[in-house]
């Protein structure tokens, strides 16, 4: 989405607060989301040009473990599925 242009003429241009809001709003129109490694912290980087969100990859919910189990596929071939399992 294109940036909002600043107001440079007319009565509104005299209100500096408006352009200040536009300056703050434009970076939000250029949000960039990056997936980072599983254990990295969630980060938000704000600049004049854009906002970068660094989101850790999915990972396994606490208390669960991944297990690869064999299955019979619907066409009778042998396959595998990854299950999230947790002891009860």
């Amino acid at each position: 989405m294109a940036n909002i242009e600043k107001v440079t003429q007319g009565a509104l241009a005299k209100n500096k607060k408006l352009n200040e809001i536009i300056n703050r709003l434009n970076p939000l129109l250029n949000i960039e989301v990056n997936e980072v490694e599983e254990n990295a912290p969630l980060e938000i980087e704000y600049s004049d040009n854009n906002v970068v969100l660094r989101v850790p990859s999915g990972g396994v919910p606490e208390g669960f473990a991944e297990e690869t189990l064999d299955v019979v596929n619907s066409d009778n071939t042998a396959g595998q599925r990854v299950f999230l399992t947790k002891a009860v």
Partner: protein, 201 residues
């Protein structure tokens, strides 16, 4: 929908065992993660003429000994598979040859089971025991023959979420008479041989 694997071995009352008869993925013998396995087994009962002894009446009567052996092993199949067995003695030879496995299948599949049994001996050859083929889908009695037996059956194994059992069995037998001189055993000439083959169609 996929079927979760049971096994790796099973029996008639438990689908999650560490030994017994292997559980397979339908007719897929290509997977290294879930290798296709089966049990083959051979039971031999041999009666051997060992010589003679003198009876209370003073005449010679033959003496015999009996040997019973059973071997069973779990094998891996990478396609069609078979078992061949043979046994011999100088009097009576009885042998049972089997192939067995469990399977899980999302849809039915077909196999072709071929059987070949043979009994040989000298001119006194006779049938001492049942000789025939049957499997877990036999409903109208075994297929019998003596001294030779050969043929095939095509079976449809139905879809099954729980491990379903299949086995094929070939019984062979041969017998020969005692020699005229019951104190001089014949050399080994009472033979049986059997081959069972399973082909995935």
């Amino acid at each position: 929908m996929a079927i979760l694997r049971a096994g790796p071995f099973a029996n008639s009352s438990d689908s999650f065992l560490d030994s017994g008869t292997p559980v397979n993925c339908a007719n897929d013998t290509s997977s290294s993660a879930w290798p296709w396995k089966y049990n083959d087994g051979v039971t031999k009962s041999l009666e051997t003429h060992t010589g003679c002894e003198t009876s209370g009446g003073g005449e010679n009567v033959p003496t015999t000994s009996t040997s019973n052996t059973t071997t069973e092993s779990t094998e891996t199949a990478t396609g069609d598979f078979s078992i061949t067995s043979s046994a011999s003695s100088n009097l009576i030879t009885i042998m049972t040859t089997t192939l067995s496995f469990y399977y899980q299948a999302a849809q039915s599949f077909q196999i072709k089971v071929t059987y070949n049994g043979l009994a040989t001996g000298d001119t006194t050859l006779y049938q001492p025991e049942f000789m025939g083929f049957y499997d877990s889908q036999t409903t109208s009695g075994p297929i019998e023959g003596f001294p030779s037996l050969s043929g095939f059956v095509t079976r449809t194994l139905p879809a099954s979420v729980k491990p379903a059992f299949y086995y094929a069995q070939l019984d062979t037998a041969s017998g020969i008479d005692f020699p005229e001189d019951v104190c001089s055993p014949k050399s080994s000439i009472s033979d049986t041989s059997a081959t069972l083959s399973i082909e995935f169609l």
